[in-house]
């Protein structure tokens, strides 16, 4: 096999910088949540912020709770105005710098249940998660 062909295959199995193709690839069930490690393409520079792009499937009136490994709340996805049988779309969630350790974010995804319990999201419920950098260029 030529070197070129090999590198093409590697590009598929190695996670894209700053993104994950699908949670199945690198997430694992960790108790009552699905846990995954996401890596920024580079460490944040001045004027840059980190964001999660979370793509959600058909979850009806369920919600997706996002926390860090240490339990810090990152946000709650609660679809509104979605017709029955439709996917809930992609959500843009700001990630505070202190939730990152260097370029890494350990993210936990769960679905709130009755009685304050949670369960791990399935790969149908959250179809993709990306950690991206935004630079808004407003001079900060």
């Amino acid at each position: 096999m030529s070197v070129l062909a090999l590198s093409v295959i590697l590009a598929f199995v190695t996670p894209q910088a700053g993104s994950t193709p699908a949670p199945t690839a690198q997430s694992r069930q960790a108790g009552d949540a699905r846990e995954m490690t996401l890596t920024l393409p580079h460490a944040l520079r001045k004027g840059e912020t980190a964001w999660l792009l979370v793509t959600v499937g058909m979850i009806g009136h369920n919600q997706i709770q996002l926390t860090t490994q240490s339990g810090k709340d990152l946000g709650n996805i609660s679809p509104f105005g979605i017709r029955s049988g439709q996917a809930a779309g992609t959500y843009t969630i700001p990630v505070p710098a202190e939730a990152l350790s260097g370029r890494r974010l350990v993210l936990r995804l769960s679905v709130p249940q009755a009685g304050g319990l949670h369960r791990a999201t399935t790969t149908e419920e959250v179809t993709s998660v990306r950690l991206v950098i935004q630079r808004f260029g407003n001079g900060n």
């Binding site: 894209q16 910088a17 700053g18 993104s19 393409p41 912020t49 964001w51 792009l53 009806g60 009136h61 369920n62 919600q63 709770q65 709340d73 990152l74 946000g75 709650n76 996805i77 609660s78 679809p79 509104f80 105005g81 979605i82 017709r83 029955s84 439709q86 996917a87 809930a88 779309g89 992609t90 959500y91 843009t92 969630i93 700001p94 505070p96 709130p112 249940q113 009755a114 009685g115 304050g116 990306r130 991206v132 950098i133 935004q134 808004f136 260029g137 407003n138 001079g139 900060n140």
Partner: protein, 564 residues
């Protein structure tokens, strides 16, 4: 808007000499707007509480109207169900129109001509305000029971009049409803009743089933999940409405979000203030939708939590859900306070962009399709169908003449260093005063730059007018550019109208104060204001006047035009 860029002429000249002058100038440009006729106050303020009294009175009157009256309380909610955009870039502008007309209706119905919809700033108060549990301000009140006791009662009450309304819709309206997935009246009604025409698996003999997930109707007792004893948002919703999250939602500098989903690049997204673009405001959110942070997090989760959508600790995963969880949410009066706050945040974002000298509208390729989107279902304060109108008409709050008492987010405005303004050289031209009118010679090129840009304003006038005194009590002045000397009755839609400058009570002349003040007013972006432009080679003569808003001759003391 509450703040004016007010300074004495001498102070201005002093600062304009410093390099910081341009930045200071542009930072405050957005603040040089006229006070609005109506002010939307925080619901926690005394004025906000007072407004709730009129609001409750109007709701009662709207509940009492027959179902065939377009201002009937429930008919008003159906305007939202049939036409509201979610998960696209018309979310804010459509709701601005919806709230604006609703506010007019509340004025009519309450008999309070000064009513303005209070806003609920959940970043400051993460619970339903106590007074929103009073009387008809909650949809669980007994006054609603006659209509919403159960689905049968509601259907009998409203369905005949809605069917009749549907029958009279224009082809353009029907076309928009089709985009929403409503090909027939029954399609729409199924979203109200939850009826799903396909049989459940294993029950082929049944013609269909009720799907609680799709039921917009909520019976009175469960119409709202939160109660006076338990009014708090949950911890996770509190996180979504927190100052940190709202601040992040105000940060983007693009109007709409763009997402190149299928291109494998590290940064496939440019997050905008609005959700992603679609071809129609009626496009239902689904797979390709990207929700902006403010719509996706605080907006959505507040709706759902109030309506009882699976809250932490007490989730109701299988329903039934209350009003706020779906497109009939305007049945719950809290809807309009919630959306008033969303609308306020759009205004904050717009003024933040202006202060940074950044565009606050879609880019020039996208702007035409954004502006011409038809909104066909609004009802005005007199109960008349507004008829065809377009998104462009609802971009500015001046369409409805209101502004906001400052709330959370205001501090973001003008906080950052300016990128663009500092790069541009500034030039200023002083007006030659004759009587109380000024003549200025401006470069034709500068005027063309000013007129050509879709969004950015590059020419501003520093207008000096006398403070009100006992003998000359005028507090409001209209700044006119290039208006014929004999023109009277120039209104805000005139091409010569640059803006209104005004003094508050506290800005009356007092001893020790100069007897005049200077305001910054953007020049009109209309070529009629610069009559000799086409013929002129290098320079164009422009006249500027400042006339008392009630009528009368110009009282302008001095004017300087500055270009950025």
């Amino acid at each position: 808007m509450s703040i004016y860029f007010e300074t004495t002429r001498r102070d201005f000249l002093k600062t304009s000499l410093a390099t910081a002058g341009t930045a200071a100038l542009s930072r405050h440009l957005a603040l040089a707007q006229a006070p609005a006729k109506y002010r939307r106050y925080s619901v926690t303020s005394q004025q906000g509480q007072k407004a709730l009294v009129s609001y409750a009175k109007a709701i009662q009157a709207m509940l009492n109207l027959p179902a065939d009256h377009p201002q009937n309380w429930f008919r008003n909610a159906f305007v939202h169900l049939m036409d509201c955009p979610h998960g696209n870039w018309w979310f804010y502008v459509w709701h601005r129109g919806y709230l604006g007309y609703f506010e007019q209706t509340i004025r009519t119905m309450s008999g309070d001509p000064n009513f303005a919809m209070p806003y609920w700033d959940w970043s400051d108060l993460a619970q339903i305000p106590d007074s929103m549990f009073n009387d008809v301000l909650t949809p669980v009140a007994s006054a609603y029971e006659r209509y919403t006791k159960d689905l049968q009662t509601f259907t009998a009450f409203i369905q005949p009049s809605l069917k009749n309304y549907w029958g009279k819709l224009s082809p353009a309206q029907i076309q928009q409803l089709n985009i929403r997935g409503y090909k027939t009246f029954d399609d729409m009604w199924n979203d109200v009743s939850g009826w799903t025409p396909t049989p459940m698996t294993g029950h082929l003999s049944h013609p269909g089933h009720f799907n609680p997930e799709n039921t917009a109707f909520a019976p009175t007792p469960i119409a709202r999940y939160l109660t006076l004893q338990n009014p708090q948002l949950s911890d996770s919703v509190k996180k979504n409405v927190s100052k940190g999250t709202v601040y992040s939602g105000l940060e983007p500098t693009n109007f709409a979000t763009t997402y190149y989903q299928h291109i494998p690049i590290a940064n496939p997204i440019k997050i905008g203030f609005n959700s992603s673009t679609t071809a129609s405001h009626n496009t239902a959110p689904s797979k390709g939708t990207v929700f902006s942070t403010l719509e996706g997090l605080p907006h959505n989760s507040t709706h759902n939590y109030i309506g009882g959508g699976a809250g932490e600790g007490s989730p109701i995963p299988n329903g039934p859900w209350g009003n706020m969880t779906n497109n009939l949410s305007p049945v719950d009066p809290i809807f309009f306070l919630h959306h008033s706050n969303m609308d306020r945040l759009w205004d904050v974002w717009t003024r933040k962009q202006q202060a940074l000298n950044l565009p606050y509208l879609p880019n020039s390729q996208q702007l035409p399709s954004y502006e011409k989107e038809p909104f066909l279902f609004y009802v005005d304060g007199n109960g008349k169908q507004v008829g065809p109108s377009i998104a462009k008409e609802y971009i500015s709050m001046s369409r409805f003449g209101y502004d906001y008492e400052p709330g959370y987010g205001e501090e973001i405005i003008g906080k950052r260093n300016l990128v663009l303004a500092a790069k541009h050289p500034t030039a200023s031209v002083e007006g030659l005063m004759k009587g109380n009118a000024a003549t200025l010679t401006l470069s034709a090129a500068a005027i063309k730059t000013h007129l050509d840009s879709d969004t950015a304003t590059s020419l501003f006038a520093l207008v000096t007018v006398p403070r009100p005194t006992e003998n000359s009590p005028n507090r409001e002045f209209d700044v006119l550019v290039g208006a014929p000397a004999d023109a009277t009755n120039i209104t805000a839609d005139s091409p010569y109208y640059a803006g209104k400058v005004a003094f508050f009570c506290g800005m009356m002349h007092m001893s020790g104060m100069t007897d005049e003040a200077t305001f910054i007013v953007p020049l009109p972006k209309r070529k009629e204001a610069f009559a000799n432009l086409s013929a002129a080679a290098g320079n164009v003569a422009v006249t500027i006047r400042a006339v008392p808003s009630g009528g009368g001759a110009s009282v302008l003391r001095a004017v300087t035009v500055q270009s950025l």
